[in-house]
């Protein structure tokens, strides 16, 4: 289990909430003690998790969710594991500093929690993770392709997944009246200690729940996703359907790359100074070589099997026992990036009726 103090915080105790005029005030406060990363509108238009320095005049856009999830901040897309100098192997530990991820959405927070569990004993992940404070932000409407409500990941941040949560006060006549800041962990409490925020009046819970209900009502009909999940769990999807879907898989790896809960990796050795360094990098089970052995034998040579595997891993309750929940957090990223038109929505539509 995690050794970090941050992760061992006692959760679920009485929540404290405060009033906050603007999220930037909290961010600026945290910058005194932490490196702060937030979603920033960047050159690509994708949005990216970038460091915002004290004194930078960067607005915080509550609606911005970067195309890439914050996954690689902990499960690095390329991680040096150790070096070998010809005689000795030496572990490389990533250099980290106290940091804050500011403004993480419910789906990505649920994914971080899922990964925290998967990588609970992974020294590299934990080195990056343990010094990180998570500031979540509630969503008040569905995003494009998102279905977090269907898979119990959002739109409201689950309190055990963040240290601090920002939730907007109800807007009246289109005017925002500010934010509530909910403190959900000791680490969160420490971080705002001294900030001297006015406590929220007791209505905040009611309004937060109300806002959540409003958001839930705006989600599109998700019957086909629920049906699809049931059919995967009942193993009721015919092989031919998977084969047809597999036929459209171009093995780009985009779904795995953008999925906030995908965690597969491979390793390689890079020659260096008479020895080598071993690096691990993100991998994807949709690639035909993923299970291919040196002899050429391959248990999952057929694309249909690999596509079936991917969605089984995301939606089967067989994994609940080990992971506490299903693998999908409903962010919808795979649907945008899939060139084969077999992202989550298309797949679920097809298998729900297959």
């Amino acid at each position: 289990m995690p050794t970090s103090n941050l992760l061992n915080n006692t959760r679920g105790q009485a929540l404290h909430a405060y009033e906050l005029e603007r999220p930037e005030h909290l961010r600026d406060w945290l910058q005194n003690r932490y490196k702060v990363l937030q979603p920033v509108h960047d050159q690509t238009g994708n949005g990216s998790w970038e460091e915002v320095h004290a004194g930078d005049v960067v607005p915080f856009d509550p609606a911005l969710r970067p195309v890439m999830s914050p996954k690689s901040l902990f499960f690095a897309e390329r991680e040096q594991m150790f070096t070998f100098d010809g005689e000795m192997f030496r572990t490389t530990t990533p250099k980290t500093e106290h940091q804050v991820l500011f403004g993480v959405k419910a789906c990505d927070l649920m994914a971080i929690s899922y990964q925290d569990h998967h990588f609970r004993d992974d020294p590299y992940y934990q080195a990056r993770r343990k010094d990180t404070l998570l500031v979540g932000i509630d969503c008040s409407s569905p995003c494009e392709n998102g279905f977090c409500s269907t898979v119990d990941a959002g739109p409201q941040v689950h309190q055990q997944n963040a240290d601090l949560i920002l939730t907007p006060m109800p807007s009246i006549n289109g005017h925002s009246h500010g934010w509530w800041l909910i403190c959900t962990s000791d680490h969160g409490a420490q971080a705002i200690n001294g900030m001297d925020l006015p406590p929220a009046d007791s209505h905040w819970r009611y309004w937060r729940d109300m806002s959540n209900e409003h958001a839930l009502a705006d989600f599109a009909d998700d019957t086909y996703i629920i049906n699809g999940i049931q059919r995967i769990n009942a193993r009721a999807v015919p092989d031919e359907v998977w084969d047809t879907l597999g036929h459209q898989c171009l093995s780009c790896s985009g779904c795995s790359q953008t999925c906030p809960t995908c965690s597969c990796y491979a390793v390689r050795d890079i020659p260096k100074d008479g020895g080598f360094v071993r690096e691990r990098f993100h991998d994807s089970c949709l690639m035909v070589g993923f299970q291919k052995e040196a002899s050429g034998a391959n248990p999952t040579a057929q694309a249909g099997r690999r596509v079936a595997r991917y969605w089984y891993h995301k939606f089967s309750s067989d994994f609940k026992a080990a992971n506490g929940r299903i693998g999908c957090v409903g962010c919808g990223r795979c649907d945008i990036t899939c060139p084969g038109a077999i992202g989550v929505h298309s797949v679920m539509e097809k298998i729900a009726h297959a």
Partner: protein
């Protein structure tokens, strides 16, 4: 330090997808797809996702190298440039400017290509400049120039989504141009009809409404047959033909002999499928036709393109949204390299080198008299070398030893050259023949522009500093030109190069870096008449006034299977790899995807030869021999086998024929005759290196 993302363009195929390069402390971490990109819209293929690996420090050449006693040693830029100056000056003086030349690069930026061709024409005083478009789409440029006037995609990639019929002719975009393939899959999903013309049962063929699985090399017979059906039924677009096309009567007369029975026999396609395809295409509200190297890489390549053009024009499927005749170009910037005039017969912007007005224009602009003698193509330069008339060459970023036909011949040429300069990122087979290697900056290390296959000029941006002493081609050209004592090459930034070339090219004259950025890329022609670019060509008519229908006839491939060499071999590309593989093969994931065998074969054919899946085999043509393993493929019809051409250790171009299209001298890569020689079941196929050492790779019959 935190992660920074730089917006740029994928360096692989001609689709031109938007990628964000993620860097931390000057190191490339990976890539992300650009959500709002006009072409890729947040998608990438496996090559795109792995593009950061291709430019890593490992195996990169980071200083100039000079060959001494058969081995390379690092050298300074001054020393390398001095040697190049000395050698080229010698050959220019001794043998004249026809004895030297350059091969430019379809992977490099427009700015690089412009600089290279300018250097060749101004400093080397020759039109001997070419690049690999010769071996992919020169027939498109030549064929479409004759019929519709412009040798490029007439429409945009986004037009696929506006079509109700999509025709895919001789290519598999889901493998070679994945995001275009994606558009086609999505079109199919929303109900568009899909017609695939391919001897192989490709991924799209399996999804198609009609798959015309024609015999290799029977493209013209097929198209003429379709035209005959269309004319016989009166399905042609009469109004369009009347208004926009010449020589309809001649075309009609020429296709009359292509009767249904005859065409069905020659192509192997059942008659009802021919009629169905003709009906669907001619009746479409908007039909998008895409074609690839299965059309161009034949001795009849130019004619194949013209035949397809005849079909498109006869049905009027051009000049409107969702239509067009659309060659899918191979490299990221093969369109740009052509646009920039890295061709013997063209100055930048398709202005002809034999046109005195253009000669005058460029002489004046560049401040030096341009050469007037005709230039040679790459194969022309090769032949001249073997005849002792060509002596010194510069090759920028291409690997003809792996990618060109008849590899043994290419190797002979490179050996025979008196002086060879290769500009490369890593040690390729071609580079190993060089006297001097200059270290090239990768796409991630420089600014510039690429032009994708839909004529969209897009910004390439520097994400990391060039490794070691690498630099962009236009920068090294500047150094070289100065050493030769020439002015006009003193650009400080890639933007200066771009401004110079845009001013000389009517099709680019409305472009600048700020305008390109503002518009998310601009499609040429972009000028005073079309300030925001031209997503669809020929909306109002054709550059030559009217489009031309050109009657032509079926010509079989130069080499057909016989008793000795009973199979047709066709070369293909794999989704996971690109070109000579010098970038894609550095990705551990893509390398792992490589099948353990590389000869794709119909299972029944293989069984008939007593071969099992993964069995080791020798593959022999009249020109070469190599060894590999068989992979059963349901894509392959009986009698046809295929090999990818990306691999330097099992190079399929050992075997291919360099018979050429008479118009463009395009070699016939898509068809040659081979035989398969089973090896002992436990044998391990020998690499080309081992075969060469054992003297077994030349053909000996």
């Amino acid at each position: 330090m935190s992660i920074k993302t730089t917006s740029t363009v994928c360096p692989f195929c001609g689709t031109g997808c938007g990628i964000g390069l993620r860097t931390e402390n000057g190191q490339l971490l990976g890539v992300e797809p650009i959500r709002n990109h006009p072409v890729s819209k947040g998608r990438l293929c496996s090559k795109g996702w792995n593009s950061a690996y291709g430019v890593e420090r490992q195996n990169r050449i980071t200083t100039p190298l000079i060959k001494e006693n058969g081995a390379f040693r690092p050298a300074s830029w001054e020393e390398a440039i001095e040697l190049i100056h000395e050698q080229f000056s010698y050959h220019l003086e001794e043998h004249g400017p026809t004895s030297v030349g350059a091969i430019s690069c379809a992977r490099a930026t427009n700015e690089d290509n412009y600089a290279i061709q300018k250097f060749t024409r101004v400093v080397l005083q020759t039109n001997n400049i070419d690049h690999c478009a010769r071996i992919c789409h020169s027939p498109s440029v030549a064929g479409l120039a004759r019929t519709v006037g412009e040798g490029a995609m007439t429409n945009s990639i986004g037009d696929v989504s506006k079509a109700d019929v999509v025709v895919v002719f001789g290519c598999d975009p889901t493998e070679s141009h994945c995001i275009i393939g994606s558009e086609i899959i999505q079109a199919k999903e929303r109900g568009a009809l899909l017609i695939v013309v391919d001897p192989r049962k490709t991924r799209l063929a399996k999804m198609a409404d009609v798959h015309l699985q024609l015999k290799v090399g029977s493209n013209i017979a097929l198209v003429n047959g379709l035209l005959n059906i269309i004319f016989a039924n009166g399905w042609e677009n009469k109004a369009f033909l009347e208004e926009h096309c010449l020589y309809l009567d001649q075309l009609k007369a020429s296709v009359e002999e292509y009767t249904l029975e005859e065409v069905s026999k020659r192509t192997g396609v059942p008659a009802d499928q021919l009629i169905q395809a003709a009906r669907i295409y001619s009746h479409a509200r908007a039909a998008f036709l895409a074609y690839g190297m299965g059309v161009t890489q034949f001795v009849s390549g130019t004619n194949n393109v013209i035949a397809i053009s005849n079909l498109v024009l006869s049905c009027g499927q051009i000049g409107r949204p969702g239509t067009g005749i659309n060659p899918l170009r191979g490299q990221n910037n093969v369109q740009g390299a052509c646009d920039m005039g890295a061709l013997p017969g063209n100055y930048p912007g398709y202005q002809f080198t034999n046109d005195p007005v253009a000669q005058e224009k460029f002489s004046k602009a560049w401040g030096y008299q341009v050469p007037t003698h005709p230039g040679m193509t790459s194969l022309g330069m090769n032949e001249a070398t073997l005849q002792g008339q060509f002596h010194a060459m510069m090759i920028f970023g291409e690997d003809p030893v792996v990618t060109d036909p008849d590899q043994n011949q290419v190797a002979k040429v490179l050996k025979k050259l008196d002086f060879l300069v290769v500009v490369e990122m890593s040690m390729t087979d071609t580079a190993s023949f060089a006297d001097v290697i200059l270290p090239a900056a990768s796409f991630a290390e420089k600014h510039g522009t690429f032009t994708n296959c839909e004529r969209r000029v897009q910004r390439v941006r520097k994400a990391i500093e060039p490794l070691g002493e690498c630099m962009a081609d236009w920068q090294m050209i500047g150094h070289l030109a100065r050493r030769f004592g020439y002015t006009g090459f003193d650009w400080e930034t890639s933007e200066e190069v771009f401004n110079e070339l845009a001013a000389l090219m009517p099709i680019y004259s409305g472009m600048s870096y700020p305008r390109i950025e503002q518009h998310g890329g601009l499609q040429w022609p972009c000028n005073a008449h079309a300030p925001d670019g031209t997503p669809i060509l020929h909306r109002k008519g054709f550059p030559n006034g009217k489009a031309r229908l050109i009657p032509l006839h079926h010509l079989p491939p130069a080499e057909t299977p016989d008793a000795d060499f009973p199979y047709y071999l066709t070369t293909i590309r794999l989704h996971f790899h690109y070109g000579c593989g010098s970038m894609t093969r550095k990705s551990p994931i893509l390398e792992r995807e490589t099948p353990s065998g590389l000869l794709f074969m119909n299972e029944q054919d293989a069984r008939n030869q007593g071969l099992f899946n993964n069995a080791p085999v020798g593959v022999r043509s009249r020109r070469g021999y190599l060894e590999t393993r068989v992979v059963f493929s349901e894509q392959m019809p009986p009698g046809l086998v295929s090999m990818p051409y990306h691999f330097d250790d099992i190079p399929s171009n050992q075997l291919t024929n360099d018979a050429q299209d008479p118009v463009t001298r395009m070699p016939e890569l898509k068809a040659c005759a081979i035989r398969i020689e089973p090896l002992a079941p436990t044998a391990r196929p020998r690499s080309i290196k081992e075969l060469r050492e054992q003297g077994e790779c030349d053909a000996h019959l």
